[in-house]
Symmetry: C2
Subunit: 249 residues, 2 copies
């Protein structure tokens, strides 16, 4: 196993950091790594906003559900899907790029581009001995995030990435079984096989929690998911995205 694969497999989300800023060099390395990711037809449809301002970080931590590690860390990056750049290019080159930019296809491209870049940033940070945690919680209130970061139309802040020197380690969480996530030549056609894989995983997750909490917690993954999905969270998203003139048609 090489150093890269070791770093990748060793990932766990960390949520306690020293209050010690990354150096400018560390930030530049992480952003360069993000930019090295593949990008659909070289479109580079994302932006990264690094938040240093303490008041803004505090506010973002509140939005994300009072998560202290959004406020106290080495650096807080926010990854945005960004087609504003391409809208401006349309003006520069006098080409009507609007129908393209407003399509669901390009919305997907921008989301994928931003996410590939973010994962490179995450791996790079972890390879430097830093801990990371993605912060989807900023999507609790994107109107507010948008005001804080002054993002224009066609820019959607997608998630944060908090990075820093970890003060507390967590365990690696076991993922779905290989044969459930990975199909060959076609998607699993037998629903019973599919369900039994989920049940096997449920048992495994349940005993994983059981062991780690001395019997206090034994929840199954499918129950966790059903509970989470039973809450209709962030149902304003479609309206928000379309108000920002993306994913319209």
């Amino acid at each position: 196993m090489n150093e890269v694969i070791e770093t990748i497999l060793n990932h766990r989300s960390l949520r306690h950091f020293e209050d010690m800023p990354l150096t400018e060099e560390q930030i530049k390395t992480i952003v360069s790594c993000a930019q090295s990711a593949s990008t659909s037809s070289f479109i580079q449809a994302y932006s990264i906003i690094g938040v240093k301002d303490k008041a803004k970080k505090k506010k973002l931590a509140e939005i994300a559900g009072n998560q202290e590690y959004v406020e106290i860390n080495g650096h807080f990056f926010i990854f945005c899907a960004d087609l504003n750049r391409h809208s401006i290019i349309g003006e520069m080159v006098q080409t009507d790029v609007t129908p393209s930019i407003e399509s669901t296809e390009k919305f997907m491209v921008a989301l994928i581009d931003a996410s590939l870049a973010a994962q490179n940033a995450a791996i790079a940070a972890e390879s430097m001995g830093l801990g990371i945690c993605y912060i989807g919680g900023i999507r609790n209130n994107l109107e507010e995030v948008k005001k804080l970061l002054k993002t224009p139309e066609r820019v959607i802040p997608l998630f944060g990435l908090t990075v820093g020197v970890p003060t507390k380690l967590t365990d690696i969480k076991p993922r779905l079984p290989f044969e459930h996530i990975y199909h060959e030549d076609e998607y699993e056609q037998d629903k019973q096989v599919y369900i039994s894989q989920l049940q096997k995983y449920d048992d495994f997750i349940s005993s994983y929690y059981d062991e780690r909490t001395e019997g206090k917690r034994k929840d199954r993954w499918s129950e966790q998911m059903a509970k989470m999905l039973d809450r209709k969270s962030r149902m304003y998203m479609k309206e928000f995205v379309q108000k920002n003139k993306l994913d319209l048609k």
Copy 2:
């Protein structure tokens, strides 16, 4: 610079591979790395389909615009946004998860999840000395891809990842300037600054092509982008996604 950062910064998309299949162990390592990526609230909303069947690969290569490297490679992975799993969980646990699953928020989550996983797979493959290329071209005709891979509702094949032993290297393509992609505390408010950064990059890209093609090609990035976005490509996507019961509300 450590080995991980070196691997990441050394990325270039490769499009010529030996016709030599990856080993099962290589495939398992790559998929394990994909699975190690962060996932929103542990939702794991993606699937990976590895295509080995030669006839299917040939067909996928045609769909992707007659790209030979989709057919001839070490392995062809397809990454899918997948909320079918969670729909089945809803039935298993008897919880109405439908409004949640059909929301734009969860569509975004699935896209982000699949993309984070894919980028881990890409970096892992590259660390093993293999070359990779993302294949967005499968989105040229997702109805056809869906039939080939027999994916159910709530599953959207997003992109392929072709992996293999490279037979021809390409250059690393220079990305947008750091100060244009990376903002601090707020998005760049001065449009003139933003435009002048783009123009500087345009000049740079133009001389990059000029040098590499002995003057045959001098196109600027903004012109490339305007030309690409002037074509309304894959405008069926919204209808396709909604027909598959995602991104509905």
